[in-house]
Symmetry: D2
Subunit: 336 residues, 4 copies
């Protein structure tokens, strides 16, 4: 951590800061310039609250050198994390294909789609039971009944299940679910993250619409710090000025976060683009860019889907796409 | 609502759409162009799920004419909403000044600040008991004890209390709190919004960092639709590329949202700018721009605040500022 | 175009609007609702100035149905544009690889890099002679001498040359240059675009840092409307809140703009990410996503490059990458 | 400047860096940590090209402590710059009101508006002669004839004139114009900025839609470094995800840039909001926030303006507003 002092800092305040820093077990190396004095802090600064120092009258600016996350940091955990969910592994060179409808709508629908996507190569089934909707008047999901139908589809196909949890109070309902998804709007719902940290369930943590890579890793840190090492990061588009797409898919997260962290990265081209016609292109790009997998909305009848129909592709389109994705994955040296 | 069809739409699909629209009790007026056919939908379209229509193969685009919120809409509720919290009113021409520390830290601290800001003209006390922090290692607030100390400060000063609730499960603890704040990160925590809609407590709803005005109004709609009419909107900065300030304070929300809705609008210059030195300028701007009030962080010793010290002003600075704000409020014709 | 009128519009103003629209040769189809009357305008509205209508007192909103660009629009030009530059073609299924240093620094440097990238499969040489730099104190390029050295490299290798023009007054210097690059900061330098529209030189038009897809296509329209059909679009990252990367590479532009327009799309992963270590991943993603080509910074000695060293890859890294790109291009069915 | 080295840097490269830094006349103070070594650079680093250092293999990150602009920096020029344009002063406590139509349309129009706004208290006349328009098919301004009519209005009213220059080649036409406006799209048109730096004309430099405060100050530095000290900064909204307003007016620029620089700051609420109904609110906010002035679009007949009608207010509305602005300016202690 680097602390840049204002010109002519008050000596008493400076002494008090130096004493406090010593108590935090960090060493201080000052560099004295004409306009600025810089303090280099050496030691474990990850748990120092940067705001406490910035607030001082004598301080002009404070900048971190060390990242503020530790458990999620590749520096302290160089090997890729590989997560087991049901009969599948996420990370470590494999290609995870999570597919399914935005919402569970009926037993016939979810089992039909599950069988279709499994036949095409999907390794996990997704489907929303509890749905976060912008409007209170929009369909909010089948809720408990939706969870039951997802577990029926798992029985039928063997596919592990990934579905969204919206509140810590719902945890008991998710006992047999394989991967708990935290939606973009809940990425900084800290009570929920803490509750998930106390479980050992894999968590698919979606990046908030205005979250930086560091914010995402800090939210992962909440789960990891609670004792649950099974976090999968998921990019689903960020909010920018461009409004042709629903969000802007930020694929640079793949090389960036893989350099910063050991956690697997999954891409969601369906929510990012909001348009089925753009999903295949962005799915191929994600695999070529090094993603650990994809989560794709597939619906047997997108025009009558109860939500997010415009971004769902058909099982036939998924079948073609899955083949392309596996060929690209092979070209860049991945396992298949 | 306007539906723009693709060229040469399939007649069977079009008939099926027209039938479905009739079932939703909307009238359809078609306009047939060379490249496009446009369907004008007339009637109450606020509860039609736009996604259902967009997903159809024959549809190119769907655009709302009517806003998707109803209870929050000024068209259906032309008078300003005025909210009562303890002994103060928010909205309707008055100037609400909510002041206090980021976090409650001790009885002495919170009562001292409460007395000081009351003497300067504050009409409500703020103070965090449950703190959403980006890092799991940062101070998370005094929690239940913090609530107790806030109520002590209310006893001492008579100021109503505004403090943040992070999860619906905390509601019983907030029984004696006057205004429940929903933080920016929870603006789309729908289970929390629904729970607040079932109470009759005033809710201070902060705009999410990447929420549009419409998103904010839709979140307000969740509370209103649940039966609680007491929603106060709060701008606290949005996330943009500019990184000199913590966030970008978007004061245009004042005239915009006051045209769209009848709900009061409060501005938080402290979290928006993240710098105490910028707070007075932006506070004055907000009042001159027509805000119903401000929420400002005031700390007796910003350099030793347990969080957000850099953005807190001292009681003395607040005293000077409050005087300026009242004079500006008088110039633009507000009550004092 | 759709015009949404306010409630109870003044009849005289409405008549005057209807007369004016008739003079613009558009037909008007009204839809009368309870709160809104909607006018559907049918005919060629691409040249109607939307602001003229929005300004009317009786108008609530105006929305385009038809795109405001015509020459760049795929609807009126369904086949892909294929552009010839020297001995290479851009668009139409081929994979264009433009490589070279940020700045031309010496004859030895530019010819050395040109030979290396040609051997690895590059089809065009890039190199800056006139450099737009944020700081007036930074290296501004070798200017005229830089152009001369690029032409020397062309003589030696046969590679066509792509380099940036910053002002219309420089046009005579670019007579022998094959592709004129317009930088992101100049995307809406309309005098420059008009001047380029009067030539027949291929123009590589970079997307501005805050330009929408439509803005980019409107800037292309300036060149096309001037009579020059040879426009290549280039994505080089947009400005967002994420600051780990220099900009956010928006690969969704590939399927989006290819649906909207017939012009080729080239991706610049070097400027977008600003980090050499991220270039290969994003280059692979771009090809898999369907880009017509890439423009990549290659420098023999990145650590001593006069600008943008951090984002330049070495000729050896380019050689490996080019092989991967060709294999991915083959997998997705492109020509090689 | 702070250079953060990677772990275990190559000693030969480190020696070469240290030698090079010594040649740049900066002193180096190293701080050696467990994972990082930090080099503090002391001396004049404003002209060091940060990219040259970042590109080195041994360097992890480089951060500036000193700002990269010098002539625009308040540290080296503590007093406010006050600029004289015709018979008016900008900066130093006065309130500059620049008003007029988006475009000059006729002699009658421009003289009529000039007389009206002068009577209401405007201190300068604005009006576009050369218009940057997104579409090549939109009205491009009256051009040379527009300049002539502006000078006629100056003769009639004595108001100094502010109008936009789009290209350095137009400079001779602007000889009698008092303030040369550089549009947001040209903020980084470096050939234009250099040409303006060689004149002594006041330059109104508009912030680009995605420019940071630092970018804006660097563009000002281009003009200042050329020898022209007369730069007025102008905020006109930035591009964000919010699309209710045309752009997001960022009033925080007022206290921020006034702390960083000595140059005057003018606010343009018309282009920022794009809606006449929002202009008065944001104009009042700007003055209360400490702006040195405003530039406001006023049109006698907004519904028939040739461009930007929706954001123009009438002379009557301007008259009311100007009175409010002067009262607010008095309350916050400004001159009138």
């Amino acid at each position: 951590m680097i602390v840049i002092l204002k010109e002519n800092p008050d000596q008493a305040q400076l002494d008090s800061l130096l004493t406090w820093l010593k108590e935090q077990h960090v060493d201080v190396h000052p560099t004295i310039g004409e306009h600025h004095t810089i303090l280099g802090l050496i030691g474990d600064t990850s748990k120092i609250d940067i705001d406490l120092i910035s607030a001082l009258d004598i301080v002009d600016d404070v900048r971190r050198v060390q990242e503020p996350y530790k458990s999620a940091n590749r520096k302290f955990h160089p090997e890729d994390t590989v997560i087991t969910a049901g009969n599948t592994r996420i990370g470590g060179g494999s290609l995870t294909l999570i597919a399914g409808p935005c919402s569970v709508e009926s037993e016939e629908q979810i089992i039909g789609i599950a069988k279709a996507v499994k036949a095409s190569g999907a390794t996990m089934l997704r489907g929303g039971a509890f749905k976060p909707r912008t409007s209170p008047y929009a369909f909010q999901g089948m809720q408990i009944e939706g969870i039951r139908l997802l577990l029926r589809a798992k029985e039928e196909t063997g596919l592990p299940i990934c579905t969204e949890i919206m509140d810590a109070s719902q945890l008991p309902l998710f006992e047999d679910i394989d991967v708990l998804q935290v939606g973009a709007r809940n990425m900084q719902n800290f009570p929920l993250l803490k509750a998930l940290g106390r479980t050992d369930k894999p968590v698919l943590l979606k990046r908030g619409m205005s979250a930086t890579y560091q914010d995402l890793l800090m939210s992962a840190e909440y789960v990891l710090a609670g004792g649950n090492p099974n976090v999968i990061l998921c990019e689903r588009g960020i909010r920018t000025f461009e409004n042709y797409t629903r969000n802007t898919l930020d694929l640079s997260i793949i090389p960036a976060v893989k350099a910063l962290s050991h956690l697997p990265v999954i891409i969601d081209p369906s929510h990012a683009t909001g348009k089925a016609s753009m999903v295949p292109s962005m799915a191929r790009a994600a695999v070529a860019g090094g993603a650990d997998g994809l989560i794709i909305e597939v619906h047997n009848d997108p025009a009558h889907a109860k939500c997010d129909g415009p971004q769902s592709i058909t099982p036939a389109a998924f079948d073609t796409l899955a083949g392309e994705l596996m060929r690209i994955h092979a070209v860049i040296g991945g396992e298949n």
